[in-house]
Amino acid sequence: MYLFFLTAPTWFSKLPILSDRIDPMVMDYVVWPLVQIGALLFVVLTLIAYLTLAERKISAWIQVRIGPNRVGPEGLLQPLADGIKLLLKEDLIPLKADKEIFVISPIIAMVAALVALAVIPWGAAWGTISNIDIGLLFILAVSSFGVLGIILGGWASNSKYSLLGALRSAAQMVSYEVAMGLALIGALMFTKTLALQDMVISQERLQIWNILFQPVGFLIYLISGVAETNRAPFDLPEAESELVAGYHTEYSGFRFSLFFIAEYANMLIVSAIAVTVFLGGWYLPGLSYLFAPGSTLFVLASIGVFGLKTLALLYLFFWLRWSLPRYRYDQLMELSWKWMIPAALANIVLTASFLVLGQELGLIVSQNNSLKFSIGGYVFLISTAFIITVPLIWIILGQINQRSRDFNLREVQPLPMNRKVNKNN
C-alpha cells in the first residue's frame, strides 16, 4: 500500500488559528505539508550548522584539544558566528569565470541535497512528509543530480586545476553511486518495496533490522556513502590542494557555504538512508509498548529514535575522517570497482539464492507482496548471512584482486637490529 500523502493529524486540524473555513483537502494537501516542510528545513539547516560545530568539537576531542569554546557557552553559538562571517564576506567572482554558471552551481548542489530530504521517513505516521512509491530511486537520482553542481563549479572557476579536481571528484562520486545502488538491492529483496516509509514498516512488522540479514550490504553501503560524499579517507580530490585544486577553491563567502551545506546535507542523507534501509528507521523494538501506536507521542518518539540513529552514523563519519589517512586516487577508484562492486554483486546473487532456498524449504512464505518468516526462516537467513555470505565474498574478492598490490601488502615484521652480519659495503 502506498500512501502518497499522509493526512494531517487531528490536533493540527483543530488548531484555533486555522478556522473551519479551510477545506480538509486543502488542509491535508497544502497547509500541513507546508508546515512540515518549513519545520523540516528549519530543523535540518540548523542541524547542518551544528554538525559543523560537532565536527570541530569531535575532531578536537580526538586530537586532545578543546575545540571552539569562545563563542557562546561551550562554543554553541559558533555556527551562528561562522554564518554571519560568511555572509559578510566580499562577493568575489574570478575575472574570466563564467558568471552565470559560477552563480548557479552551488545552488544546484545544495538544492539536489535538500530535495532528497523530502522523502526520508523521519518518523511514523505524520513524521514523514511524503511516501512516494519510488522513494529510494528518487533519492539516488537526486544525488546524482548533485554531481552536476560539482562539475559546473569546477568548470566555472576557469582554472585548469579546478576543473581536473572537479572531474576527479565527479568520477569518484559516480563510481561509488553504482556500488551504493547495488548494495541496496540486497535489502530490497527483503522489503519488496522502494517506498521508504514502507521499508521501515516492513522491518517493524518482521520485528528485525535488515542489517542482520544484510551485513555485507550495510558495510558496502556505508563505505560507498563515505566515498560518495567526498569525505576522508576518500577526500584526495579536495585535500590535494597543492597540485590539483578542488572544485570549490575559487568560491568564497556565501557561495562556499552553499557547497558546504550541500556536503553536510549529503552526509545526512546517506546516514538517513542507511538508517532507514538497514537499521530499522524509526522502529525500535520496544517503542510500541511504551507509546500507543499512532499517537502523537509515538510519532515524536519515533522521530527521536531516527534522529539518534542518524546522529550515531554521523559520528562514525567524523570518527573516520580524523582517524584514517587518505587513499590515493587510483587506490580509491580501485576500491570501488574491484572491491565494492564485485562484493555487492556477489551479495545480490547469494541473498537471492538463499531466499529461494528458504522458500523451497518452507521457512519463508511470500504472500501479498511481502515476506513472512517462521522462526526457522529467521535463523536460516541470519546464519547464512554471517556464516556463508561473508566468508564467501571475502574469498571471491581475494580471487579477483590477487594481483592487486594492496591486497598483497606484506605483514609487519619487527625491525632487525644490529645483526652481526658482514655486509660487503
Binding site: S59, I62, Q63, V64, R65, A232, P233, D235, L236, A239, E240, S241, E242, L243, W322, S323, L324, P325, R326, Y327, R328, Y329, D330, Q331, R405, D406, L409, R410, V412, L415, P416, M417, N418, R419, K423, N425
Partner: protein, 376 residues
C-alpha cells in the same frame, strides 16, 4: 635540463604536462619548488629548485668570531638546533684539542637525544599530515611540547637554543631537570604505541607507504644518502656507533635498519630510533656524574691552530659534517657545512620517477628535509 629519453607510450602522442609544486606548500617542509614532468599522473622527470632560503651562512661565518658563529648553526637546521650546535662546538674543540668534562658530555648527550626525539616527532607529524592522518600530527606535537618545555627551562629558548659553548656548557641542569626528563621518558612509550596503533597496521597507511620511493642499498650509497634513509635501505651505519663522539661509547643502544628501502621501512626505522633515543636518555640520566660543566682550559679568545679539520655527527636528518679551515686567526678561513638534507634531497628524483603525483608528497616527507639546512 637533463634529457628524458623514455616516454611511456611512444606511439600515442601524449603531451607531457609540466607541473610546478610551487615554493609555497600546505605541507610545512619549507620553501622548496619541485618541477614535475607528468605523463598523465605518472612522474616522468623531476627537478628541484632550492635556494629560496639561502642566507649565506658560510660567508657570514668567515667574518665572525668562533663564539659568535654558534647561533648561526641553530638557524640552519632549525628543528634540530641542539644537534647542530653540538657538531659545531665539537669541531672547534677537536681542532683546539680541548677536553670536555664528563658531566658536560653526558648533559650534551641527553639534550641532543631529546632534540632527536623532537625532530623525529615533527617528522612523524608532518609526514602523517601529508598522507592524511591528521590526528597523529596533533598527538605528536603534544609530545614535542613537553620536550620544548624542557629546553625552555634549560636554555631559555624552545627552538633555536644556542645550546652549547666551546669548552662545555653555560648552564648546568636546573632543579627538577632530571625528574622532568625522567617523567617524560616514562610517559613516552605509551605515546609511541598510540602512534603505532594508528599507523603501523593501518591498511591505508600501508597502501600509501609500502613500495613507495624504493631505493636500493647501492644506489643509496652512490647518491650519498645518510641517516634514516640509508638505514631504511638495509645499511647498518650510524656515526654514533662507527665513530663515537661525546660519551656514546659508554652507552648501550641499537641501530635499527630496514630491508626494502621503501617509505614504510624508513618510517619504522625512525619510530624505532625514537625508542633507542629514549633508552640512551635514561642510561645517561643514571650515569650523570657530578663535576664542572666547562673545560678548565677553555680559551676566552678562540684561535684554532692553522690547519683543517672535518668532524661529523649523526644528526636526526643524517650525517651533519663541518669542514673547518683555520688560518690561525679568530675567524675561520672557510667553514663548510655538509648538510644531510641537501644530499638526501638529490635522491628525490630517482625515488619519485615512475610513481604518481600523490606519492611525491609522501617521498618528500620520508626524506625528512629541512630547507634551512639545504639552503644555508
Amino acid at each position: 635540463m637533463t634529457e628524458i629519453t623514455d616516454i611511456t607510450h611512444p606511439e600515442i602522442d601524449t603531451n607531457e604536462m609540466i607541473l610546478s609544486m610551487g615554493p609555497q606548500h600546505p605541507s610545512t617542509h619549507g620553501v622548496l619548488r619541485v618541477v614535475l614532468k607528468l605523463d598523465g599522473e605518472t612522474v616522468v622527470d623531476l627537478d628541484c629548485e632550492i635556494g629560496y632560503l639561502h642566507r649565506g651562512v658560510e660567508k657570514i661565518c668567515e667574518h665572525r668570531n668562533y663564539q659568535m658563529i654558534a647561533p648561526y648553526f641553530d638557524r640552519t637546521d632549525y628543528i634540530a638546533a641542539v644537534s647542530n650546535g653540538l657538531c659545531y662546538v665539537e669541531t672547534v674543540e677537536k681542532s683546539l684539542a680541548l677536553e670536555i668534562p664528563l658531566r658536560a658530555q653526558y648533559l650534551r648527550v641527553i639534550l641532543t637525544e631529546l632534540n632527536r626525539l623532537s625532530s623525529h616527532l615533527l617528522w612523524l607529524a608532518t609526514h602523517a599530515l601529508d598522507i592524511g592522518a591528521v590526528t597523529v600530527f596533533l598527538w605528536a606535537f603534544r609530545e614535542r611540547e613537553e620536550i620544548l618545555k624542557i629546553f625552555e627551562n634549560f636554555f631559555g629558548a624552545r627552538l633555536t637554543c644556542h645550546a652549547f659553548r666551546i669548552g662545555g656548557m653555560t648552564y648546568d641542569a636546573y632543579d627538577g631537570f632530571q625528574s622532568q626528563v625522567k617523567e617524560f621518558c616514562d610517559r613516552f612509550p605509551k605515546c609511541l604505541e598510540d602512534y603505532e596503533i594508528m599507523l603501523n597496521t593501518n591498511r591505508i597507511w600501508l597502501s600509501r607507504t609500502v613500495g613507495i620511493g624504493i631505493i636500493s642499498a647501492d644506489a643509496a650509497i652512490d647518491i650519498g644518502l645518510t641517516g634514516p634513509p640509508l638505514r631504511g635501505s638495509g645499511i647498518e651505519w650510524d656515526i654514533r656507533k662507527a665513530h663515537p663522539y661525546e660519551c656514546y661509547a659508554d652507552l648501550e643502544f641499537d641501530i635499527p635498519y630496514g630491508e626494502n628501502g621503501d617509505t614504510y621501512d624508513r618510517y619504522l626505522v625512525r619510530m624505532e630510533e625514537m625508542r633507542q633515543s629514549r633508552r640512551i636518555i635514561l642510561q645517561a640520566l643514571e650515569k650523570l656524574p657530578d663535576g664542572p660543566i666547562m673545560a678548565p682550559k677553555a680559551p676566552k679568545v678562540v684561535k684554532p691552530p692553522i690547519g683543517e679539520y672535518y668532524h661529523s655527527i649523526e644528526s636526526p636528518k643524517g650525517e651533519l659534517g663541518i669542514y673547518l679551515v683555520s688560518d690561525g686567526s679568530t675567524q675561520p678561513s672557510r667553514l663548510r657545512i655538509r648538510p644531510p638534507s641537501f644530499i638526501n634531497l638529490q635522491a628525490l628524483r630517482q625515488m619519485s620517477i615512475g610513481h604518481l603525483v600523490a606519492d611525491v608528497v609522501a617521498i618528500i616527507g620520508t626524506l625528512d628535509i629541512v630547507l634551512g639546512e639545504i639552503d644555508r
